[in-house]
Amino acid sequence: MVSENVEEYLECIWGLTQKGSPAKTKEIAERMKVSPASVTEMMQKLADMGYVNYEKYKGVTLTERGTEIGAKIKRKHRLLERFLVDVLGLKNEESHEEACRLEHTLSDESEKRICHMMNNPETCPDGDPIPKCKDDCSLCMSEPSVPLTDVVKGDKAVITHLVCDDTVKMRRIISMGIVPGRTLCVEDRLPMGGPIVLMIQDCKIALAKDYAAMVHVSPTGRCDRR
């Protein structure tokens, strides 16, 4: 478990290193509203924990693990801002404060749900007053959807959308409960182009390839073993 403070630092460094050069201790201190000395101390700690590469006078870059956490927190922050403004109707300034607090406690699952619920990136309305809307959307897009046919056996995924020109087929898919937002598990893929066997909640459904290709999903790891 990473402490909120560590997360906050990593988020900040992630933002500063986006321009392509290492982050300076001074910049970090300004952003975090702390003294440069405590930043230096913190950087040593983070380096020991394996989140940053820190060389005195050259600055700070994130390790792979550090980047992962920093980017995730930033994504949650921006996503929450949009959620608070778009859906709950908070003011911009308020949303920033609130998002700063919530970003550390928001679970990955909820983050994903909010992301799907707001149907990113397309729902970014033109002329949206929220800054960096495009950024947010692309962050949300970091897990692109794939057709269900590409999901391997034993993986679970959230249905993102249906790609289908034929209304009759689309309605058949919906009527079986294959609806965006629901989580499914690919239990089996029958050989020779056979159907894909899915588990959605407690329903087991076999779906031919042509239907499966219409269902787009975003993979979320391995299925829970029963």
Binding site: H161, I174, S175, M176, G177, G194, V197, D202, A206, Y211
Partner: protein, 639 residues
């Protein structure tokens, strides 16, 4: 309180709705562990403490969108009958989709009761807070176990005392959808439709045909425009979005009222899982199919022998007496016709068809059939059919009549026609099997029998493939719910078999009787004998058979199974080895197996596909069967 209540039963396929209906009303409804058994609706009545409750059972449906056939029937009947109460039957082990259906019923303003069926299984898997669910939905919720009758008294009690409850529960849709609903609602100040405005407008947005009729062209155009705008904005069709919201709501309720009990998979579930895997699923499948086949063929043959001797002992002399008392050729024809019809029931219907239906009913109730469909889907796809075609083909090995009716499970007419042709041409029905086994089986060798079945199998593959190529349409893929395996219940298996055999009698018996008597008359007046010589180029020339076999072949159009008995009469001996060589028997069996089906099968084809297409199939099958017979005769002549 009214003393007459009209109640509709609604639910997904395969939730045990038919069982609830039978238990409530005492009227038997067909139920299977296979989706789509209730095609039309059934009615029954129960009287409870002076209140007459009329119950009608709607076909199993996944929703009330009114798109697929079952949904159309369900929405239409609901609107026409306008029941006082809708009882939604849910499968407690998979509650979410049933909740979505319930939402739709509530939106349409029906007083509703939710029944959680199969609670016995559900209790082992999770704890369901029934009271909380009832509170959230605002309607009575009753847990039941329909097969044992648990909870059904309470359902009846509720219906007769309180009725269902209307609930103002409603799904909170996306704010855009809510905006559309509000703006449409403002356009319609005068409301004359027998449903809440919101519910009817939702149906309108979903494109339900039945509701579309109720609104003006102007409003429909406006709705269309709103839908397009929604889709452009959200990059998602409004129906998809509405269902996204419904399932979201259902998921939320589920997480509130259901807590799963941690447990290991039961043995039954493990077997359910394994039977679906290619390994060991496919070997199991082969064993099951082989088991069904040998059960019908070998056990059937044994029962036939016993029954026929009993029948002959019991009726001995009666038909002679009947012929004499009516007198003349007419008397002989009538009595022989009746005798042969009765005989075929004793020799074919009871041993083979009854047995076959028993096995089929048991197999259906285990929930194994969807697994057959899924495992064979990829192979069937190669021939332009999908896995669902396997069921009619299995049924066809009993009798072609129900098999052609069973093709209804396939989506398109095209697939149905391909499959029906394949069944008629190449799937040997019980009667055809009797001919094959009675001739080459008894007088030839196992290799002869195997050769005939190999040819038939090849014929299935080639015909399906050719028709698939010739008829260019896109085949519809497979989408099927997979139930858990269960142990079939004897009473359900028996009542189902009874209904099917009854149907068979109603369709086939009159045709059998009339055609038997007609043929007997033709025989008595020597009309058939006159055909022997003109047809000899085909029988003798092409097929290398004795000329008299033409009579058996013509007879075969009416009733295949009797052609063997007829051969006995024609040859004047029951030992076919004296009259035909094994090669001739092989050719005769092959022709019989591929030759036109009986009159009953033709009449069903005609009913389902019209004169033009069914004639093509019939003429085609006669042609192919003679060509095959000729070819076999030629090849056998080479050795």
């Amino acid at each position: 309180m009214k003393d007459e209540v009209l109640v509709a039963l609604l639910g997904h396929p395969n939730v045990g709705k038919s069982v609830v209906f039978s238990k409530l009303t005492g009227v038997s409804a067909l139920s299977s562990n296979y989706p789509g058994t209730t095609v039309e609706f059934q009615e029954g009545r129960v009287v409870h403490e002076g209140v007459k409750i009329d119950i009608f059972d709607l076909p199993g449906t996944y929703g009330l969108t009114g798109v697929s056939e079952d949904e159309k029937v369900a929405t239409k009947l609901l609107a026409e009958k306008n029941p006082d109460c809708v009882v939604v039957i849910a499968d407690a082990t998979r509650l979410e989709p049933s909740l979505v259906l319930t939402f739709q019923v509530l939106e349409l303003g029906y007083p509703t009761i939710l029944v959680l069926n199969q609670m016995d299984v559900a209790r082992k898997r999770s704890t369901i807070d029934v009271n909380r669910l009832s509170e959230v939905l605002g309607i009575p919720v009753v847990p039941t176990v329909a097969i044992t009758g648990e909870g059904l008294d309470e359902v009846v009690e509720l219906i007769s005392k309180a009725g269902g409850r209307r609930s103002d529960f409603s799904v909170a849709y996306d704010s855009h959808i809510e905006d559309i609903l509000r703006s449409l609602s403002d356009l319609l100040p005068d409301w004359a439709i027998n449903h809440p405005k919101r519910g009817a407008l939702l149906k309108l947005l979903e494109g339900n045909e039945f509701f579309l009729e109720k609104f003006s062209e102007g409003l429909k155009a406006k709705v269309e425009a709103e839908k397009n705008r929604f889709e452009a904005h959200h990059k998602e069709a409004i129906e998809v979005h509405m269902n996204r919201d419904r399932y979201g709501e259902a998921g939320r309720i589920i997480s509130e009222v259901i807590s799963p009990i941690p447990r290991k998979m039961s043995r039954r579930e493990r077997i359910s899982e394994l039977s679906l895997r290619p390994w060991p699923g496919i070997p199991i499948l082969a064993l099951v199919l082989l088991g069904v086949f040998s059960m019908v063929v070998f056990v059937g043959a044994y029962i036939e022998t016993v029954f026929v001797s009993v029948y002959q002992d019991a009726t001995g002399g009666f038909f002679d007496w009947m012929a004499l008392s009516i007198g003349g050729d007419l008397g002989a024809a009538l009595s022989a016709g009746l005798d042969l019809t009765m005989m075929s029931i004793v020799a074919i219907v009871i041993p083979y068809i009854l047995l076959f239906y028993l096995v089929l009913a048991a197999l259906e109730d285990t929930g194994y059939l969807p697994r057959v469909v899924i495992l064979l889907d990829s192979v069937m796809q190669k021939f332009g059919l999908n896995g669902r075609s396997v069921i009619p083909m299995i049924v066809g090995s009993g009798c072609n009549v129900p098999a052609i009716l069973a093709t209804r499970v396939l989506g398109s007419r095209r697939e149905r026609l391909i499959l029906s042709s394949v069944i008629i041409l190449a799937v040997p029905c019980g009667a055809q099997t009797v001919v094959i086994l009675g001739l080459v089986g008894s007088y030839g060798s196992i290799y002869h029998v195997a050769a005939i079945y190999a040819i038939l199998l090849a014929l299935i593959v080639i015909t399906a493939w050719m028709m698939h190529r010739l008829m260019k349409f896109e085949p519809i893929g497979l989408m099927i719910e997979v139930p858990d395996l269960t142990v079939p219940r004897l009473d359900n298996v028996l009542s189902k078999t009874y209904h099917r055999v009854k149907d068979f009698f109603i369709i086939a018996f009159p045709i059998l009787l009339v055609s038997s008597i007609a043929l007997e008359l033709l025989m008595q007046y020597d009309v058939l004998d006159a055909m022997v010589d003109p047809f000899s180029p085909i029988t003798v020339g092409l097929l290398g058979l004795p000329a008299v076999t033409i009579i058996a072949l013509i007879f075969g159009v009416m009733r295949k199974e009797m052609s063997l008995q007829l051969l006995v009469v024609l040859f004047g001996t029951a030992d076919f080895a004296l009259a035909m060589t094994v090669d001739q028997m092989f050719v005769f069996s092959l022709v019989m197996a591929t030759y036109v089906p009986c009159v009953s099968a033709f009449s069903v084809m005609f009913k389902e596909f019209g004169l033009k297409d069914s004639s093509k199939v019939i003429v085609g099958s006669i042609f192919i069967s003679f060509m095959l017979g000729g070819l076999a005769n030629f090849v056998l002549g080479l050795f």
